[in-house]
């Protein structure tokens, strides 16, 4: 099995082969040739779908894992790692999308809360760092700022509305 692993925007291709009840994982270089020695990974299940005890070349590592679509969030030894693990076809689709760019920039609620105030209107020009709206959560008012320069294309939510994590509040073109 071949997988493409994306961490912090860096791409690694690996192949996976069964080795008894464990796995032998080999990194591939840019030409698809094996690079470095295979890594032997034995996976013990502590709790299915949540927690595993790994022996990585005999090194004992606990991994707490959460799956979200193609991405994995792993807690390993006090560090948290967010990675995307894609198959060949998914990786191809991902590469094409990345080349095209994503055009509109949506600004989403980064947490569940209440929109206290929207400080911009459709058609307004905004600059990076400018406060777009104020979101109240956990009894704190949080100023959500523009991460890019642009023009507000759409304001989807208004003051007083409750928003959930990931809801689009406005879009910048």
């Amino acid at each position: 099995m071949k997988y493409h692993v994306l961490i912090d925007g860096e791409h690694h291709a690996v192949t996976l082969a069964a080795d008894g009840s464990a796995w032998s994982v080999t990194m591939l270089d840019d030409d698809g040739a094996p690079s470095g020695k295979p890594v032997h990974i034995d996976i013990g299940t502590l709790r299915e779908a949540h927690a595993y005890s790994l022996l990585v070349n005999q090194r004992s590592i606990d991994v707490a894992v959460e799956e979200q679509g193609s991405s994995l969030s792993m807690v390993i030894g006090g560090g948290r790692y967010k990675v995307d693990v894609l198959g060949e076809r998914e990786y191809l689709a991902h590469s094409i999308k990345a080349e095209q760019g994503d055009g509109d920039k949506t600004v989403e609620a980064a947490m569940t809360g209440i929109v206290v105030d929207v400080l911009v209107a459709e058609g307004d020009a905004v600059t990076k760092g400018q406060t777009l709206f104020i979101l109240e959560a956990m009894k704190m008012e949080n100023e959500v700022k523009a991460s890019v320069d642009g023009v507000v294309a759409r304001v989807a939510r208004s003051a007083g509305e409750t928003v959930n994590l990931g809801d689009v509040v406005l879009e910048i073109e």
Binding site: M1, Y3, V5, I7, D8, E10, H12, V14, L16, W23, V25, M27, G36, V39, I41, I43, R47, E48, A49, H50, A51, Y52, L54, V56, I61, D62, V63, A64, V65, E66, E67, L72, S73, M74, V75, I76, G77, G78, G79, R80, Y81, V83, V85, A110, M111, T112, G113, V116, I134, E136, A137, M138, K139, M140, E141, N142, L165
Partner: protein, 504 residues
């Protein structure tokens, strides 16, 4: 002197559990109160009795003084411990507890009132000769006055809520242009959080360290201090990591600050546990910020080095007993650190996180204490404070304590909700923390120093692990998911027998 037999704890989470534990060690019966969201919480299960208050929102549960008093009456409790937050510094509640003939485990309503309003507190402390930060003595509403006062004190200035606490309502104005809009924001946030939008201005100190002093008073006029706590590792004006002793403080400064704290407490006839918060600037001058008239979140580090159970002292003093130790008898040993585990994404502006705890494992071993209200299956929601638990370590010196905390944090496993455990570990290993030369701006002033860093070798390892994990998760799900199973395997003799058209 009154005898305590049964204590109601008007709080939730780790602090409710922490108070219950001491009560049980003292042979006292306990009553927990809970909202619908907390029916299965550890504090409910640890208590002798538990009473439902209402739905999850705090306004319908933990802030319902009437229901809490009803619960105390129904269960025959003779004292109420408020924990911190919620009603702990609400004088109306404290008075109502007393009027009901119950003991409030904490200071008098008069003392809370004297220190609760920051402006009034400042006036009192100036009169008592305790150094305070240059600033205003009256709340400000007039825009003209706001500007002239900001000019008098000198930029940058802090805009603070009169009734504030916990970092809410605080803004820093660096230019005159932004002063008014920030003041408006602070005022509206304060009005929403405390029902009082009054604000005032204060000088913003350079390289300030937030160092506080634990004090304790009894009803016989005795007041002692139990050393300082260094609380300068903050983000969003809220503490994240605390340690004691402070790397900045020597015995001389410790004595001076301790004496000032005792003087402040005596000036208002303070009883029970309290904390004087000071700012110490780069010139090692100290200024009193405010007094917290309750037990502090970070009290365990004082307990670790002094061997004192502060909750036991609280209960004894509330019952009218004198303090069990004199100032000379209080000694500290070793070094203690506390890390506050928050449900938040440190890599994304420290935004609060929500979720359901899927798996939970705590560190253990020598010198590690966990005060936690978490449990597997718990929903972390915006209803309550995002602080989930506290990890406290104690060791013979600072280096050993740092190593122990780093080890403990690496053993924390929480999934289902993002926590700041990895971030705190990076702080522990950072140059400012290791050297002890940090201040309240260190975290937010140099975020890049605390950002996750991944070496090439480490990233390759993670890539291999991720591939093996993803493959395992996906293939196991493939075999067990019903929808992906072949159709025939889903039928059974029973289904076949009743299928339309089947022979009957």
């Amino acid at each position: 002197m009154r005898e305590l037999k049964k204590v109601l704890i008007a709080n939730r989470g780790e602090i409710a559990l922490r108070v219950i534990r001491t009560c049980r060690e003292m042979g006292l019966r306990t009553v927990a109160v809970f909202s619908d969201a907390d029916r299965n919480a550890p504090h409910v299960r640890a208590a002798y009795q538990a009473v439902r208050l209402g739905p999850a929102p705090v306004g319908e549960s933990y802030l319902r003084a009437d229901k809490i008093l009803e619960a105390a009456k129904a269960t025959g409790a003779d004292a109420i411990h408020p924990g911190f937050g919620f009603l702990s510094e609400n004088t109306t509640f404290v008075q109502a507890v007393r009027d009901a003939g119950l003991i409030f485990v904490g200071p008098s309503p008069e003392a809370i009132l004297a220190m609760g309003d920051k402006i009034e507190a400042r006036r009192r402390m100036v009169a008592a000769g305790v150094p305070v930060v240059p600033g205003m003595e009256d709340p400000v509403t007039d825009p003209e006055l706001l500007r002239s006062e900001a000019e008098r004190i000198g930029l940058p200035v802090m805009i603070k809520a009169s009734a504030g606490g916990g970092g809410k309502g605080i803004r820093i104005a660096r230019t005159m242009d932004e002063l008014q809009s920030l003041a408006d924001r602070a005022s509206s946030e304060a009005a929403a959080a405390f029902g009082n939008g009054a604000i005032y201005l204060e000088k913003y100190l350079e390289e300030p360290r937030h160092i506080e002093v634990q004090i304790f008073g009894d009803s016989h006029g005795n007041v002692v201090h139990i050393g300082e706590r260094e609380c300068s590792i903050q983000r969003r004006h809220q503490k994240v990591i605390e340690e004691r002793p402070s790397p900045l403080i020597d015995d001389e400064l410790r004595e001076k600050m301790g004496a000032a704290a005792v003087k402040a407490a005596k000036a208002i006839n303070y009883e029970n546990a309290g904390t004087l918060e000071f700012l110490v600037d780069k010139h090692r001058d100290f200024y009193m910020l405010e007094m917290n008239t309750r037990l502090q979140v970070e009290h365990p580090i004082t307990e670790a080095t002094s061997g004192i159970d502060l909750v036991r002292w609280q209960l004894d003093v509330a019952a009218g007993k004198p303090l069990p130790m004199t100032q000379d008898e209080i000694k500290h040993e070793g070094h203690a650190i506390e890390c506050r585990l928050y449900a938040e994404d440190a890599d994304n502006g420290f935004l609060p996180a929500v979720g359901t705890v899927k798996r939970l494992e705590w560190p253990g071993g020598n010198g590690v204490r966990i005060d936690s209200g978490l449990y597997e299956g718990m929903a972390v929601t915006p209803h309550y404070d995002p602080m989930l638990a506290k990890i406290i370590v104690h060791a013979h010196d600072r280096d050993a304590a740092i190593a122990r905390m780093s080890r403990a944090l690496s053993e924390v496993q929480v999934t289902g909700v993002v926590t700041n455990a990895a971030f705190m570990r990076r702080v522990l290993h950072s140059e400012p923390f290791q050297s002890g030369r940090y201040d309240t701006h260190t975290i937010e002033g140099h975020p890049e120093d605390f950002a996750p860093k991944l070496s090439d070798a480490r990233r390759r390892d993670i890539a291999c692990i991720a591939a093996a994990m993803a493959h395992t998760l996906r293939s196991r799900r493939g075999f067990t998911a019903r929808d992906s199973a072949p159709r025939s395997s889903r039928s059974s003799a029973w289904v076949d027998a009743f299928r339309p058209g089947a022979a009957s």
